[in-house]
């Protein structure tokens, strides 16, 4: 076997406590994030076994999936949600886990607050009972979503059992065109690979496009790794990463920082290391993207028409069922389709950079009257930055309101539900049937495309609205 290692190998191999012959590895977990929805049964499990949480200081709890995005200071009205939130608080207290509940200054979406407070670090193994845990891979961590049985494993033993995935490198060379954001890069890759194209793999993103991307952008890309079926995606840490991590609450300091840096700087793929699969794309082929179907792989460049079934691989029946759900037709142009809702938020696009992008486009314009817009920051920190940077004033002038942090319409467990039959342009990550409310129809897109739709009330190419700004 070659001694040359990929970034993924380096981090994985250094966390293997035990290898079981023809079985999984026992993988040590450095950081564990929990939220109210996927943890209660795991806590019940350890209670039933009569055991304690092995390393409570390595687990962090935040409430996000099931929380209202208005009037967070009031008691949660829905009794089931309130009960779930109470369970998380009680379990956190009982086992000595830091708990950032509703109203806490550090509260926010689990994958937004992790990086904000330095819980997310290069070279770490990070898990959470949410598939978009892959977000944290932006820092060169191995981060992935787990099921509740696995949450229980981590609480009980700080380890999980995992078979090592295969490795895939996705390289995007060149530079991005106007109005093409990290979200578009990710939606483009998924549209090329399909939603199962990376199943069984762990992805490393490489090439100029990712090198030049901000940490926020890298998080957006890694976040969406799961939508191509990959367990996770990661990007080798560099100066930008270290700069971002430095000085945050849970980041090492002094001698510990120096020691950490020695490790972090070693986190690059060795020259000549091999991947099980390599794909290469050219940045010039990517334009602002939008989805037209019921999985994130059903995306196209915004100026294109909806593909005809026969031109695609895979099940024609499933494809037609999907278009029927959306009430779209093969060959339709997406541009000009009337929309009803806009959602800016989620762990995919709920960070400050996303609000900056959205605001840049709506500045001096007005929200379309018939559009309901939910602008939901990913955390209180993001919310504060929106206010400090003066973005809130621009949003308010344009007829928008800002809500309080949470997952909101990303999965519509709270009241932020898109009604049946209505269309939402959403910066979140999933356009599955009913994801944003029973019968809802979701078009996934970037914050720029969402902004363009919010002011025109229909699917609009953001480049058109940007034209005069960049003469």
């Amino acid at each position: 076997m070659s001694t040359k290692k990929t970034l993924f190998d380096k981090v994985w191999d250094s966390h293997v406590v035990h290898h079981i012959e023809n079985g999984p590895d026992v993988l040590f977990i450095d950081r564990h994030m929990v939220h109210e929805v996927t943890s209660p049964v795991a806590f019940l499990g350890i209670k039933d076994r009569g055991i304690r949480v092995m390393y409570p200081e390595k687990t962090f709890a935040t409430a996000d999936h099931n929380t209202p995005t208005i009037n967070q200071h009031l008691p949660v009205a829905d009794p089931l949600s309130a009960n779930q939130l109470r369970a998380l608080e009680e379990n956190s207290n009982e086992y000595g886990i830091s708990y950032w509940g509703l109203g806490h200054e550090k509260n926010g979406i689990v994958h937004v607050v992790g990086p904000e407070y330095g819980i997310t670090q290069p070279g770490a193994t990070i898990v959470c009972g949410d598939s978009h845990t892959s977000t944290h891979g932006a820092f060169g961590a191995i981060a992935f979503g787990i099921g509740t049985s696995e949450v229980e494993m981590v609480l009980a033993t700080q380890c999980i059992m995992q078979t090592k995935p295969k490795s895939m490198r996705i390289t995007v060379n060149g530079s991005l065109s106007k109005a093409v954001t990290p979200k578009d890069v990710a939606l483009y890759i998924i549209s090329q690979l399909t939603t199962s194209g990376a199943t069984g793999y762990f992805v490393e993103y490489a090439g100029e496009v990712f090198r030049n991307m901000s940490m926020e952008g890298r998080m957006t890309v890694c976040n969406l790794s799961i939508e191509m079926g990959a367990r996770g995606g990661m990007i080798a840490p560099d100066e930008k990463t270290f700069e971002y991590v430095k000085g945050r609450e849970f980041t090492p300091e002094g001698a510990a920082w120096d020691k950490a840096m020695t490790y972090w700087e070693s986190l690059v793929t060795d020259e000549g290391a091999e991947y099980d699969k390599e794909v290469v794309f050219d940045a010039a082929d990517i334009e602002p993207m939008i989805t037209y179907g019921t999985n994130p792989g059903m995306g196209i460049g915004i100026s294109h028409g909806i593909p005809v079934a026969e031109s695609l691989e895979g099940g024609v029946a499933t494809y037609k069922k999907s278009l029927q759900y959306m009430d779209f037709h093969e060959g339709d142009s997406m541009i000009g389709k009337r929309i009803d809702f806009v959602f800016l938020g989620s762990c995919t696009n709920g960070r400050i950079e996303d609000f900056r992008a959205f605001t840049s486009l709506i500045k001096g314009r007005q929200k379309a009257d018939h559009v309901t817009a939910w602008l939901v920051p990913g955390s209180h920190k993001v919310e504060a930055a929106i206010k400090e940077e003066g973005l809130l004033d621009i949003l308010t002038d344009a007829g928008f309101e800002l809500r309080e942090p949470g997952c909101s319409a990303c999965l519509a467990m709270n009241d932020d539900k898109v009604p049946a039959g209505k269309y939402a342009v959403s910066t979140s990550n999933r356009n599955f049937e009913g994801r944003q409310g029973p019968g809802s129809r979701t078009l996934l897109a970037s914050p720029l495309v969402a902004a363009a739709a919010a002011v025109t009330g229909k699917v609009t190419d953001p480049r058109e609205l940007m034209e005069f700004e960049t003469a």
Binding site: P40, D48, N66, L80, S81, Q84, G147, S196
Partner: protein
């Protein structure tokens, strides 16, 4: 949580020939508010199974009494999307012990194995044969042998083998779970943790 042992399962099967069935369809998010693991089977495929007024949708397979059994046969890329183990719980709670597909999403597959539902991955051709057999006779039985790692269509004798790693196989045969294993090596874990920088 310890679960039922799995050895040989012979049962009729329920066909769901749709691709990319995601976990939001298996169990929609609004049913994830429980703090205990029970009752999820009632909401399995909720929005495909029931109208908004809670009346059953006649043309959905779970509402068709001619199909029954402990095996669910799904299309390619079954279980994609969210990591919610509730999806696997719903499948189990409804009464399925095995899901057959030509391709599974990773997390769903793991979740199934962790709670005692056996994911059986077959070739696309074999999946077709199963659908044809069920079409011919809805009561047709499949035999799934975990010890031999084979799946057989009883009526035709068509047979294919499937993969599962030795460790998981032993767990399922004995009804053990991973935590039993991990708790046994706790001291090794403690020692390992001493060297971790974080």
């Amino acid at each position: 949580m310890a679960y039922d042992k799995f050895n040989i399962l012979t049962s009729s099967a329920v066909p769901l020939p749709i691709e990319n069935v995601d976990t939001d369809q298996i169990i929609p998010a609004r049913f994830l508010k429980a703090t205990e693991r029970k009752g999820f089977g009632d909401n399995l495929f909720r929005d495909w199974r029931y109208n908004a007024d809670n009346t059953p949708k006649e043309n959905f397979v779970l509402n068709n009494p001619i199909y029954s059994g402990k095996i669910l046969v799904g299309g390619k890329n079954f279980g994609s999307g969210s990591s919610r183990e509730h999806a696997a719980w719903a499948v189990y709670d409804y009464g399925f012990r095995c899901v057959v597909s030509s391709f599974f999403a990773d997390i769903f597959r793991n979740n199934c194995l962790n709670i005692g539902v056996l994911p059986v991955q077959v070739s696309a051709e074999f999946l077709d044969k199963i659908y044809k057999a069920i079409e011919t006779d809805p009561n047709t039985e499949l035999e799934i042998s975990l010890p031999d790692q084979t799946i057989t269509i009883k009526a035709t004798g068509a047979k294919e083998s499937f993969d599962i790693n030795d460790y998981k196989k032993a767990n399922m045969l004995n009804g053990f779970d991973d935590i039993d294993y991990l708790l046994n090596i706790k001291e090794d874990i403690r020692e390992f943790a001493l060297d971790r920088p974080l």
